[in-house]
């Protein structure tokens, strides 16, 4: 298993290089001269040249790219901000925990609600509960995250005054972002869990279990659910991408100083190295999450496991 994890970690390398290339290329298309943008029109020619040399802008695209990759893999260096001249990594280090707390708490929240209601909804198909949860999920899946955030803030912060509406001081500050981001995804997870569960309870092996005389609860959870779990885990992994993107917006709504607001601010100020660094970093986190999902998958499903461990293969 460890061998498998290491092998999978190695496959991340080309992906990260690819991600960097994509981000680099897109941002390369920014029109205008960065030095002029950063220093303003009043700066002298020497200042321009010094800026360009400092950030390697006098070199061609390809060499800058390779240099970046080299720095990234040897020194875990995400470049230097044009604005502050400080390493991007320093800022990232300070801000990533906030984003991670929001993302992890909301996915945990969403999965708990989504999976459990999804299973119940499928088992009691066409019951009242099923209709209500499906209807709610239908609406929640179409709610814009930032709008939901504003509505929740109006209700819980401004009207009821239970929770703070912005900032990151205490654990209370994280509740609204968690719900904002978690609710729409719990709806999506509910919908897919229900679908996979409905598929699973119709499988032949579930009928086998029933005809063995196994109690119904056991049939549902041990046989149907554990099998439905596999695609559900996969779906949750895929949703993580959207969720991380949503975290960027949620931070903006609740004024959290996380990675998301850092990227947005950097975009607004055209601080290209900061945007690159932030995006690549977030993509790395996402790639790690997908990897974790894959490993979890192999852990639950012996068929996948067998494909990777030498012993299991026939």
């Amino acid at each position: 298993m460890i061998k498998y994890i290491i092998r999978r970690l190695i496959t991340l390398v080309p992906i990260i290089i690819g991600v960097t290339l994509v981000v680099f290329t897109i941002l390369e298309m920014t029109p205008g001269d960065p030095a002029k943008m950063m220093l303003g029109d009043g700066a002298t020619l020497e200042q321009f040249e010094a800026f360009n040399e400092k950030f390697g802008l006098d070199k061609p695209f390809v060499s800058r790219f390779f240099n970046y990759i080299l720095q990234l893999f040897t020194r875990f260096d995400f470049g230097t901000s044009w604005l502050t001249s400080r390493p991007v990594l320093d800022t990232l280090k300070a801000r990533v925990p906030i984003t991670l707390i929001i993302a992890v708490s909301s996915i945990a929240f969403a999965s708990t609600i989504g999976v459990s209601l999804g299973v119940i909804s499928a088992v009691k198909q066409y019951s009242k509960l099923d209709y209500v949860s499906r209807l709610t999920a239908m609406v929640l899946a179409a709610v814009p995250v930032f709008w939901l955030g504003m509505m929740l803030a109006i209700l819980f912060a401004l009207k009821l005054g239970w929770l703070p509406s912005s900032g990151t001081g205490s654990w209370k500050h994280y509740i609204l972002p968690m719900m904002t981001l978690g609710l729409p995804y719990s709806a999506r997870i509910l919908r897919s869990t229900r679908g996979y569960m409905l598929e699973a309870v119709r499988q032949d092996f579930v009928r086998t279990a029933r005809s063995k005389g196994v109690p119904e609860r056991y049939v549902i959870w041990k046989h149907a659910f554990l099998n439905a779990c596999l695609p559900v885990i996969n779906t949750i992994g895929v949703y993580m991408g959207g969720l991380l993107g949503g975290a960027v917006v949620t931070e903006n709504v609740f004024g959290c100083n996380g990675l998301g607001s850092f990227i947005i601010n950097s975009v607004k100020r055209k601080d290209i190295p900061a945007v690159t660094g932030g995006t690549v970093f977030l993509a790395m986190i996402f790639a790690l999450i997908l990897l974790a999902v894959d490993i979890l998958y192999a852990f639950v499903d012996p068929r996948i496991k067998a494909r990777y461990t030498a012993k299991g293969a026939k």
Binding site: R207, S211, G213, R303
Partner: protein, 335 residues
């Protein structure tokens, strides 16, 4: 003559329908048969004849949202199974006294559970004698060896086994609680001929050894000839002919549908130039024809067949539901 207390299972006038959104599928329409202890009954018919539905009704594992048992009695060891509450059914009957072997071994096993655990599961939930975990393991080992699999393979997952081995595991699951009745739903249809021969020989041997009664559902008249004591031929949810194998294979007083089934088979021993199949198709189960269900396809159809549902004509153990036979109601018109 049979004594009554020898009867293990008695199905009487069983009717099952499936209700889809706007349609009612009449899957089983008044099926009756009797099964004695240790006996094997072949349930023969083509797709849609209602064989599997009958089996599921006996086990009460029909999909509860769509299927309804509208009428009938299923008497097993003196109790009507249709009146037994669900938890008793689960606890005392399903898997314990009646076990089922499903058709497709590829999908009948849980892919993420070790086969040993899947066999042990049935034991655990019917643990009347309070067996210790070690004893359960022993029982699993023994059952695996009974079906011809080394006990070490209980740690395997289904994907590590071949099709034939999977079916052996499915059979092991059915046998592990030593039921008195096994329902085998096309147990070898998904297997190759040589593997089929192995599995059938094994089932037959075990059944004899354990004295288990069996309902063997199949479409293969060859398998029936090899395995069964009695045969029931089903068509459109009804048993149209029932009797001992000798009755059915003798060709005497044969239902035209049975004759058609035999006529569809190429003979291995004689050179036949042409097959004599039944023309046409199975009737639509939501809209069954009046009278004899087989009348639209029957080469010997008479006026009466289109209007009057035929009763069984009985000759010893042999019963046929056809107007051609019996009191001569139809004979006069035909000849």
């Amino acid at each position: 003559m049979d004594t009554l207390n020898n009867t293990l299972l008695k199905v009487e006038n069983l009717h099952v329908v499936y209700k889809a959104r706007r349609e009612t599928v009449y899957a089983v329409n008044g099926v009756s048969f009797c099964l004695k202890k240790g006996e094997t009954l072949g349930l023969v018919g083509e797709t849609g004849a209602g064989k599997t539905t009958t089996a599921y009704a006996i086990m009460r594992v029909l999909p509860d949202r769509t299927a309804r048992i509208v009428n009938g009695i299923i008497e097993f060891e003196g109790y009507n199974l249709l009146d037994v509450p669900e938890n008793l059914m689960r606890h005392g009957i399903r898997g314990e006294k009646i076990a089922i072997i499903f058709q497709d071994p590829m999908s009948a096993l849980n892919p993420i559970m070790k086969v040993g655990d899947q066999i042990a599961e049935a034991l655990k939930f019917h643990n009347k004698e309070d067996l210790s975990p070690e004893r359960i393991e022993e029982q699993v080992d023994r059952t695996l060896e009974l079906v011809g699999i080394q006990k070490e393979r209980k740690y395997d997952f289904p994907h590590q086994l071949s099709g034939g081995m999977k079916q052996r595991v499915v059979i092991a699951i059915a046998l592990v609680c030593e039921p008195v009745l096994i329902i085998a739903d096309e147990p070898t249809t998904a297997l190759d001929v040589t593997i089929q021969a192995q599995v059938l020989a094994m089932i037959d041997e075990l059944r004899e050894k354990l004295g288990t009664a069996m309902i063997l559902i199949t479409h293969d008249l060859g398998i029936v000839a090899q395995m069964c004591d009695n045969v029931a031929i089903m068509y459109a949810g009804e048993i149209i002919e029932i009797g001992s194998v000798e009755d059915i294979y003798s060709g005497k007083m044969q239902h035209p549908y049975t004759a058609g089934l035999f006529g569809s088979l190429p003979d291995l021993e004689k050179k036949t130039d042409r097959l004599h199949p039944i023309e046409g198709l199975m009737p639509d189960p939501t809209d069954l024809p009046k009278g004899c269900k087989f009348n639209p396809r029957c080469p010997r159809c008479m006026d009466i067949c289109r209007n009057v549902q035929p009763e069984f004509t009985v000759e010893g153990t042999h019963k046929v539901a056809c107007h051609l036979y019996g009191s001569g109601k139809g004979r006069g018109i035909d000849e």
